[in-house]
């Protein structure tokens, strides 16, 4: 069943009763919430994702709740809970949907050690993937959104999941988070992109989410990473790309890994395989169109 097979009223009621589960790649998230922004966000941004009602098993049971107390009256807040436990501080209620997205990422990064999880955007042409690891501000999400609008297959804008057995990457198709100016940049770059409501004044500034392009919601077949590009957006910079040695690429990937320290030797062997199969680059850019073309050229080689 797809989310769009249900009316918004049904989605709202099922979420309130904690009976609806959203599938994203290998994970099924059972979500409980009576916050309207959650049902609105799901119906808008996850319309063509698979959902299940009362599934016998879910990977993660999460809820989003309004924080109680007097505070509720003048400064309503929202809490995220996994297993009835809240791993981080509440946020203003206006950021409820963004919190669901961050919370789901948190669950995967902290509890899915059967994958090596990297903080990186990941897109693919067929079974050849492009990994874009980057700190906040590097422009990886914007670049990811732009590439997806040009026909690259979306794996994730935040989490790259490597299967230690095969060294393949697995897709977790989720709405792409866009911040501040990126929202306008993507609207301009691809007017057809479906972008949800903008939450302003979050800890990360203004945040909006771009829906997964139609037909990619299931994630599709795994891929192998062929290119690893460390993007560095600099206002007005000339586009420049230079190779990075495999060993240095690997050290940088370790810096971006959430659970390398948990996987230990398995993680080392896995990443060793990845950097030997892929080419590493550092790419400075100031113009989205240019870097998108450069990535297309890499893939065409």
């Amino acid at each position: 069943m797809l989310t769009s097979d249900l009316s918004i009223g049904q989605v709202t009621a099922l979420l309130a009763e904690g009976r609806l589960a959203l599938r994203t790649g290998p994970f099924l998230f059972r979500i409980r919430s009576s916050i309207p922004a959650i049902s609105r966000g799901l119906t808008r941004l996850y319309a063509r994702h698979t959902v299940e009602v009362d599934p016998p098993f879910s990977d993660f049971h999460v809820s989003l709740e309004r924080s109680g107390g007097v505070r509720y009256l003048f400064r309503p807040q929202v809490r995220f809970l996994l297993d009835e436990w809240t791993p981080f501080k509440p946020l203003p209620l206006t950021q409820a949907f963004a919190m669901l997205e961050w919370g789901m990422n948190w669950c995967i990064a902290n509890h899915a050690h059967h994958y090596l999880v990297l903080h990186a955007a990941l897109v693919a042409k067929g079974d050849r993937a492009l990994l874009l690891p980057g700190a906040p501000g590097s422009g990886k999400s914007t670049l990811c959104a732009a590439l997806v609008q040009r026909g690259w297959r979306l794996f994730s804008d935040e989490l790259a999941l490597f299967d230690p057995a095969t060294a393949e990457v697995v897709a977790v198709p989720r709405a792409v988070g866009l911040k501040n100016r990126s929202i306008e940049v993507i609207r301009h770059f691809a007017p057809a992109a479906r972008i949800g409501p903008v939450a302003r004044d979050t800890a990360k500034g203004s945040v909006a989410h771009m829906a997964v392009p139609e037909g990619q919601e299931e994630g599709g077949a795994p891929a192998r990473v062929r290119w690893i590009v460390f993007p560095a957006f600099t206002e007005g910079a000339e586009e420049q790309i230079e190779p990075v040695t495999p060993a240095r690429t690997m050290l940088e990937l370790i810096e971006h890994a959430f659970n390398y320290s948990v996987l230990g030797e398995r993680g080392f062997n896995l990443l060793g395989r990845v950097v030997q199969e892929a080419e590493g680059f550092r790419c400075t850019y100031g113009e989205l169109e240019q870097v998108v073309e450069r990535m297309e050229a890499l893939a065409a080689k």
């Binding site: 040695t245 495999p246 060993a247 240095r248 690997m250 050290l251 370790i254 320290s261 230990g264 030797e265 080392f268 062997n269 060793g272 950097v275 030997q276």
Partner: protein
Amino acid sequence: MSESESGLAWQGVSSDALCWLELGDEVLVYHSGSGDTHLLDTLSASVLRLVCDRPLTLARLTALLADRPGIPRDELDGSELAALMKRFRRLGLVDVVKPC
């Protein structure tokens, strides 16, 4: 390192605690104890491999390295080698022992 200490030997961690990966002229080594991954050049990697096999004094280590092809003599400065061993020790990769 002072003269009085030069009688001491350096011993690397047990070799099953290390995973090696050679990538061109760079070597990565993962240490399962600390969980750290280190990037070494080929000379440092050779030094670490040698002291992981058996405890060696600096003098003995210098002699062994001098016999190896492809290692430039001017890189085998005793004080630089001592500094390298101290860095290894700080990272928990080697320890000081009494030579047997």
